[in-house]
């Protein structure tokens, strides 16, 4: 049996059950060591497969969070993200990880009261913006002025909330 990483003889055979599905992986001694397969407690095949499929070792992935400076390789190494913006930046590499980690990929739990109004606010702003766009295209300047005032009012209210 050949190693999953290189063509050497595989001597380490891993089996793990994730969400009722059996995953198998065969590694040679040195690849197993390189992957940190020394403590079976902290081992996840999900992570190993993830590592196996992306950028070759040594080359740093260009993905970096501009907001906090966390790099892709830091995330891969430590498994921790640095800030909320990281969740957008690393979403492409995060999604497959989440599949193996959790029961689903959509939050079905508690919604904080503050976010409820924030979500509503963002929805009404984008709604008004598209109405404004429509009114301008139809050269309906009376409506456009009215919508623009509504937008201004809503945005200044939000500004006051943030500052207050």
């Amino acid at each position: 049996m050949k190693c999953h990483q290189c063509d050497k003889q595989a001597t380490v055979h891993l089996t793990q059950i994730l969400n009722g599905q059996m995953h198998k992986m065969d590694l040679c001694e040195s690849c197993a060591q390189a992957k940190g397969v020394t403590n079976p407690e902290n081992l996840s095949i999900g992570n190993l497969m993830e590592n196996a499929s992306d950028v070759p070792e040594g080359s740093d992935s260009p993905m970096t969070c501009e907001s906090c400076g966390t790099t892709h390789s830091e995330f891969k190494k430590g498994g921790r993200l640095g800030c909320e913006a990281c969740y957008h930046v690393f979403r492409p590499v995060l999604d497959p990880l989440l599949d193996g980690m959790h029961a689903g990929n959509k939050h079905l739990g508690k919604i904080p009261a503050g976010s409820k109004s924030r979500v509503q606010f963002e929805q009404s702003i984008s709604q008004l913006r598209s109405q404004l766009q429509g009114a301008i295209e139809e050269e309906n300047y009376e409506d456009a002025a009215r919508i623009r005032d509504q937008l201004k009012e809503l945005e200044s209210k939000e500004q006051a909330n943030v500052e207050g």
Binding site: I17, N19, G20, E41, S67, C68, G69, T70, G78, G79, R80, L81, G82, C83, E84, Y87, L94, L97, L98, M101, H102, A103, G104, N105, K106, H107, L108, G109, K110, I111, P112, A113, G114, S115, V119
Partner: protein, 355 residues
């Protein structure tokens, strides 16, 4: 003030009587504030701003009236260790050196860690198996805090946490269970496998990496995204109730199939506790586990169950040093631990059998 907390034996006395099998129920919620990097990535000044913001937010919350608030670096090494042994704070928080804090409610059942892996770890615990009561309290507390601060939250991914394993609900629901029947009948491996497959983790008394001395296990949900809090709790609760039945069955079977050996073990445990002069904590935990089992079997008076539960904590290295009033070397600790146990079990009756 702090000495009261350290000496307070929160695990029994005032609380409801210890309940067989399930020692305690706990739920913790991981939360982060918007617009600040997570603690692991934040500058000290940012961590300090988060600490101040959070401390202020807690100020007017009724459930935290007369609570105790302290910064981690104001505590001595020993004081931190004691809070860890009482399961009030994590080892990770106890290792933090700047701008991390603890808020502990008056009844000691609610503890908020600030700037651990996430900005906030809000946790509530309660003796016995009682998820609905614990969830109600932690949920209300979380909502109250959220009315004062803005949480990092995404409509798809839920509450955003430093580690993606906590993403979504940010909730870890767990219990401490005493499972000597399953351990002695050598069924624990099977149980751990079955429980793992349901997405739940099984660990020792002191969490990750700790051994299962005293046959005490911590069982908790692993998955936090894709299921609501109530769905997770309901599934865990069902699994745990099943586990309690398995444990009861294993105990009955042990008594039926090999009762003499079981009584021999328990009687020797009583003898050792009455007469030891040097004892390490792992051995003491195993003896105490047998005392707790004997009380469940009504071989010893009920009061010995709460004594055992209290001793599980008081024989830990930090607590032994606290009782001594000074740092103590391991060998001397074993001596002090033994004299504490000798004194507590001096009057314990030996088990009489008809045979």
């Amino acid at each position: 003030m702090f000495n009261d907390i350290l000496n307070d034996d929160f695990s029994s006395a005032k609380g409801p009587k210890a309940i067989p099998v399930t020692l305690s129920t706990r739920i913790r919620l991981a939360r982060n504030l918007r617009e600040f990097p997570f603690p692991g990535r934040a500058e000290t000044s940012q961590r300090r701003a988060v600490l101040t913001k959070c401390m202020e937010a807690m100020h007017d919350i009724k459930d935290l009236d007369s609570s105790y608030a302290v910064e981690v670096d104001d505590l001595s090494e020993l004081e931190r260790q004691i809070l860890v042994e009482k399961h009030l704070i994590s080892r990770e928080l106890s290792d933090m050196d700047e701008a991390s804090g603890i808020i502990l409610s008056k009844d000691r059942n609610c503890c908020i860690m600030i700037n651990e892996e996430d900005h906030l770890r809000i946790q509530v615990l309660q003796p016995g198996l009682n998820f609905s009561k614990v969830w109600k309290r932690v949920d209300a507390l979380d909502s109250n805090i959220e009315s004062e601060v803005s949480y990092a939250y995404d409509g798809d991914l839920g509450f955003l946490t430093a580690c993606p394993t906590n993403l979504g609900t940010g909730m870890r629901a767990s219990v401490m269970m005493h499972l000597p029947g399953l351990v002695m009948s050598k069924n624990m491996d099977k149980v751990v496998n079955a429980v793992n497959q349901l997405g739940f983790a099984v660990r020792g008394l002191f969490g990750e990496g700790s051994d299962a001395s005293g046959s005490i296990f911590q069982i908790s949900n692993q998955q936090t995204l894709g299921e609501s809090e109530s769905a997770i709790i309901e599934r865990l609760d069902k699994t745990l109730q099943n586990l309690v039945r398995q444990e009861e069955f294993a105990r009955k079977k042990l008594l039926q199939d090999d009762g003499r050996r079981l009584i021999d073990k328990i009687s020797r445990a009583i003898g050792s506790l009455k007469s030891c002069h040097l004892i390490q904590s792992a051995e003491a935990m195993d003896l105490l586990s047998l005392i707790r089992l004997a009380a469940d079997f009504k071989m010893l008076p009920d009061s010995y169950r709460s004594t055992a539960d209290r001793m599980f904590i008081e024989i830990q290295p930090g607590h032994v040093q606290l009782a001594a009033g000074k740092p103590v070397e391991p060998d001397d600790r074993d001596y002090l631990r033994a004299s504490l146990l000798r004194q507590k079990f001096a009057k314990a009756p030996f088990i009489k059998t008809d045979g």
